[in-house]
């Protein structure tokens, strides 16, 4: 580890990944990226929370099927979601019989899981590690804002929690994309207290982590096809670009934000964009990983962002801290020596 960045010596591979979504996601421009779309927000269950558990389980099962894997072949699973006590995950995976460690990073959970799974595989502790996360619009509204029955109005800066889940399996096999390095984020709090404007709270966290990644690796934006953030939405994306402007770096052409990709701003009433743990997870698993696998993208820096928001302490006047973990995913496999001395090979 140099600075805050872990370099993976053997560059573990993401061998299979799957994304499952809801109706809004299926109606959006990214519908082709999903392995399954569920029209019913209840997922044929009694409650939205049970529905989220089923959504997450479906993502795991699809990921295993796509990789022709059995659950017994997974050494360890990392997972988390947005509900209290991470019930979306724990209830969803209870009959899968896989060793499990629960994690919470709000909407950054997917990169936290990917980072930990890569560490376990790279360190030789297990052959295959799985990372999964989900979010559900209806369950998240009840968790963070108001139950849907309340019928509250959404503000212009608010983001739409995706009903989506993403699961991926990291293994020591040789199959692109490879996880080359990852920067562990720090909790950043700029004092934003508006729970309906989480993009503004998260943008500084993404900025800090991405900058730290470049400082630790010695790489520059030239080495990357894309810099992807999790769910900053319209408001947060603009802030992130402005923060980089201050350093004299224009990332506008390189920058993509999962929150602005998942839905159509013209046809869908999503205000500032998508959000939720499932937003970044489904875009990573359903869009970016397939494009990296076929070599369309050679190197991307994926920095999912999480607003560590608690409705209880927010109501008590606390601000919203945020975190972002950045992971470098690459079509090519190379050691650290390659980066240091033959920088040109990175691209």
């Amino acid at each position: 580890m140099k600075g805050n960045t872990v370099f993976f010596k053997n560059a573990p591979a993401v061998v299979t990944a799957a994304a499952v979504g809801g109706k809004m996601e299926g109606d959006g421009p990214m519908s082709a990226c999903f392995d399954k779309i569920n029209e019913d927000p209840y997922f044929s269950c009694e409650t939205f929370e049970q529905g989220e558990s089923k959504l997450l389980k479906e993502a795991v099962i699809h990921a295993l099927e796509k990789g022709s894997l059995e659950s017994s072949q997974i050494g360890i699973m990392f997972g988390g979601d947005l509900l209290n006590q991470c019930v979306g995950t724990t209830f969803g995976i209870r009959d899968l019989d896989i060793p499990f460690l629960g994690i919470y990073g709000a909407c950054s959970t997917v990169t936290e899981g990917l980072l930990l799974a890569s560490l376990f595989v790279d360190g030789g502790y297990t052959d295959r590690a799985l990372a999964v996360t989900s979010s559900h619009f209806c369950a998240a509204e009840r968790q963070y804002r108001f139950p849907l029955n309340y019928g509250g109005q959404r503000t212009p800066t608010s983001q739409y929690t995706a009903t989506a889940a993403g699961a991926l399996v990291v293994s020591a096999e040789r199959l692109p994309p490879y996880v080359r390095a990852a920067t562990v984020g720090k909790v950043v709090d700029m004092g934003v207290t508006d729970a309906a404007n989480m993009g503004a709270a998260m943008a500084p966290a993404a900025y800090v982590s991405i900058k730290q990644f470049f400082a630790d690796t010695g790489l520059s934006t030239d080495s990357f096809d894309l810099i992807v953030t999790g769910d900053l939405g319209k408001v947060g994306s603009r802030l992130l670009c402005e923060l980089f402007d201050r350093d004299g770096i224009d990332i506008r052409d390189l920058h993509r934000d999962c929150g602005t990709m998942l839905y159509s701003f013209e046809d869908q009433d999503v205000h500032a964009g998508g959000s939720g743990a499932g937003c970044a997870a489904s875009m990573l698993c359903g869009y970016f990983i397939p494009k990296l696998r076929c070599g369309e993208y050679k190197n991307i820096l994926f920095a999912a962002t999480g607003a560590l928001l608690s409705p209880t302490v927010n109501a008590q006047g606390e601000s919203i801290p945020a975190i972002s973990h950045a992971v470098w995913l690459s079509y090519e496999n190379g050691s650290i020596r390659d980066i240091k001395f033959e920088e040109r090979r990175v691209r």
Partner: protein, 119 residues
């Protein structure tokens, strides 16, 4: 003309609410409570009564009308029962509205299930 003014006045109340949602970071719950409180204050100082006569349902249906009802109920109860009216008046006057809200919500909950509004 009656309908026209009801529409204008009621719409103006709603426009204020929409502006508060769009331009401030107030949550819907805080806006609703402040609307009720504003109705109480406007009712207490005697501004709301002429507005109600002028705009009818345009002034009584928005939440400020609920606040006015509380203030008006207290006034009446105080004139009839004296000091005790401060405590009983508000709830007495809005009892029909509150009970109706609870009963209709209950009936709706028996038949309807909440669903995602698809944009």
């Amino acid at each position: 003309m009656e309908y026209f003014w009801a529409f204008i006045v009621g719409g103006a109340f709603c426009a204020v609410g929409q502006l508060l949602i769009d331009k401030t970071s107030l949550t819907p719950a805080k806006i609703l409570v402040s609307f009720v409180t504003a109705g109480v204050i406007l009712g207490a100082v005697g501004v709301y009564e002429p507005l109600r006569e002028f705009a009818g349902a345009g002034a009584t249906v928005p939440l400020t009308g609920f606040g006015y009802l509380l203030a008006d109920g207290v006034k009446q109860a105080v004139s009839e029962q004296g000091f005790l009216g401060i405590f009983s008046g508000g709830l007495t006057s809005c009892a029909a509205g509150v009970s109706a809200a609870m009963i209709f919500s209950f009936i709706a909950a028996l038949f309807a299930k909440s669903r995602q509004k698809l944009g």
